[in-house]
Amino acid sequence: MAVMSVREALQQALREQLEDPRVFIIGEDIGYYGSTYGVTAGFLDDYGPERIRDAPIAEAGIVGIGVGAAMVGMRPICEIMSVNFSLLAFDQLINHAAKLHYMFGGQITCPMVLRTTNGWRNLSATHSQSFDSMFAYVPGLKVVAPSTPADMKALFKASMEDPDPVIFIEHTLMYGVKGEVPDDPYEVKIGESRVAREGKDVTIVTYSRPVHLCMDVAEKLSKEEGIECEIIDLRTIRPMDMSKALTSFRKTGRAVVVSEEWQSHGVQAEVTARLYEHGFDYLDAPIERVGFREVPFPYATNLEDQVVVTPARITEAIRKVLT
């Protein structure tokens, strides 16, 4: 086992993929600039401008090029620096990438991976959003949002090997998070959740960065109050594996759903509905949800701190379902 950061795990994953001549990366500032979050730093020198393609600031173009190239047998990795900019590419993603296989009766496939980032910190209204549920809403897309270095590496490989378009969601505040990554080849399949922490009192269902917040809260509650949280990391949000969350919920009868999205109409609403639909008989308390407060992101720290998902808000929700 080697300990490495999410950034390092992704670098390894990308370099492995670039051994395949069908793979190229296209995105803004991935080459000459050296990569906004450092993931593709040094790649331009190693692989050259044909494979590491600095794109104009034209998000529809980046994704459209990727979709078209995938149609004729390439394995493109498209990078949208911030998920906020992906709105400009929704037409290509939703009207093309998600539709090609079905609309043309199975004649066309689109094996493309779109890497993008959620994230926030004093970035104000248009640079702090996440659109997980907007991607996951669309039949035809697959949406992966891992939380650990090991899962990042393995699920990136799985995404690249998948013949369908995959939205691979990273997080700007998570690139430095470290964890163990196996030295030997290992596999994580798309559509399989994991138990990140075992516990008997309350089930927490989450994914991406909040997994780490929930782990910290769980350790604290365990040490200080003897409350044992079981944490389910969904890892993939379309397709969605509810099996471990439901198994846990049947045991605890209490659940908190946590994600970094506005609290209504999101992935957490979907998870909550599925817990009610499939776990109703085991319900001991109404399910609690923790997401962004429903305002555009404010710039000022004192306000932003009260919009985001925090250990305090997660703790409060846990206490509520336990009473």
């Binding site: 529809a60 459209g64 047998g73 296989h101 609309m103 009766g105 004649q107």
Partner: protein
């Protein structure tokens, strides 16, 4: 009917056999489209139906300049391109009828005809959006070092949105083997060109990207073919993309339900008097490239082919209900509980 040096020049080097086949394609498109209108009226075809009547010269002239290994991607007014590419008219009509034997199994309909085995990458119905797919296909071909080109058809109405400009920039930036063919039929749906765009000579929009471009008479399939050859040669030789603006006119409405309040009957009649199919037919006969008897035989043959496609479609089974539960993904992964 030997081709003399003079006629060879006059017909851009096309021999009488090719010219007659081009007339056959134009006649087939025309008859197919008129039959579609009839089938729409009889409720055999539903949804939106955008007919190519009057624009035949563009598709036929352009596609005649391609090799079979070259690629085509197009917009929602796609019947003409599909037929000129040689897609099976049975599969096309069956697609419009929503049948299992359709080119996309009845999932796509009129706006999404397809046949990947013929490098016909489909019709797309979000205006201007597929130009970027053409760039991606072009990039794929270039990276794979294939000496093939991709031709993308779109209308004048596609040239105002951002994706058009992104596509032109990306194609020129990477010298992609893309031939952009704007079918300028003077209307963006029902909005006249003078109302929808600031520069009405569409080919001039390529200037901003230092891209080779020209405006041609798309109603003359020979002129279209000649320009297509130049453009395809340019793209194939690695010099980068070309924008062709093919001037044409749609003799029917935007779609089958269009009341055409945006133009006068006199205008349409003026263009109908110069119907490209009739002009080409007459010219081939006058210049000794085709006989009247040949023309009549072709017209009978294409009518029979289209009638057979209707019969085939009527007899075909409806779209397979397997598509209600499968096919969204190439690799289906189910949710787990």
């Amino acid at each position: 009917m030997a081709t003399t040096p003079e006629t060879a020049e006059q017909f851009a080097g096309l021999g009488s056999e090719q010219l007659v086949d081009m007339y056959r394609q134009m006649a087939l498109i025309r008859v197919f489209e008129e039959k579609c209108q009839e089938m729409y009226t009889r409720a055999k075809i539903g949804g939106f139906l955008h007919l190519y009547v009057g624009q035949e010269g563009v598709a036929v002239g352009m596609i005649a300049a391609l090799k079979p290994e070259d690629h085509i991607i197009t917009h929602y007014r796609d019947h003409g391109h599909a037929i000129a590419r040689g897609l099976d008219t049975n599969a096309l009509m069956a697609e419009l009828f929503g049948k299992a034997t359709g080119s996309a199994g009845g999932l796509g309909g009129s706006m999404h005809l397809v046949d990947v085995s013929k490098n016909f990458w489909g019709g797309y119905a979000i205006v201007g959006s597929h130009l970027l797919l053409a760039c991606g296909i072009g990039l794929g071909l270039k990276l794979q070092k294939r000496e093939e080109v991709i031709v993308v058809f779109f209308g004048d109405g596609s040239t105002n949105g951002g994706e058009f400009y992104e596509a032109l920039n990306l194609a020129q930036l990477s010298k992609l083997p893309v031939v952009f063919v704007c079918e300028n039929n003077l209307f963006a749906m029902g909005t006249p060109i003078a109302v929808h765009t600031s520069v009405q000579e569409i080919y001039r929009k390529a200037c901003a990207f230092d891209m080779t471009a020209e405006r041609v008479d798309g109603n003359d399939p020979v002129v279209m073919y000649e320009a297509a050859q130049r453009a395809v040669e340019h793209a194939r030789s690695g010099k980068g993309p070309v924008l062709l603006e093919a001037m044409t006119y749609r003799l029917r409405g935007h779609s089958a339900q269009d009341t055409q309040k945006y133009r006068t009957k006199e205008d349409v009649e003026k263009y109908r008097a110069q119907d490209p199919n009739q002009v080409f037919r007459q010219r081939l006969i006058e210049e000794g490239q085709m006989t009247e008897e040949q023309a009549q035989q072709i017209e009978q043959d294409v009518s029979a082919e289209v009638d057979a496609s209707v019969e085939f479609s009527d007899q075909s089974p409806p779209a397979d209900e397997k598509w209600l539960t499968t096919g969204v993904y190439a690799n289906e992964i189910l949710d787990k509980y």
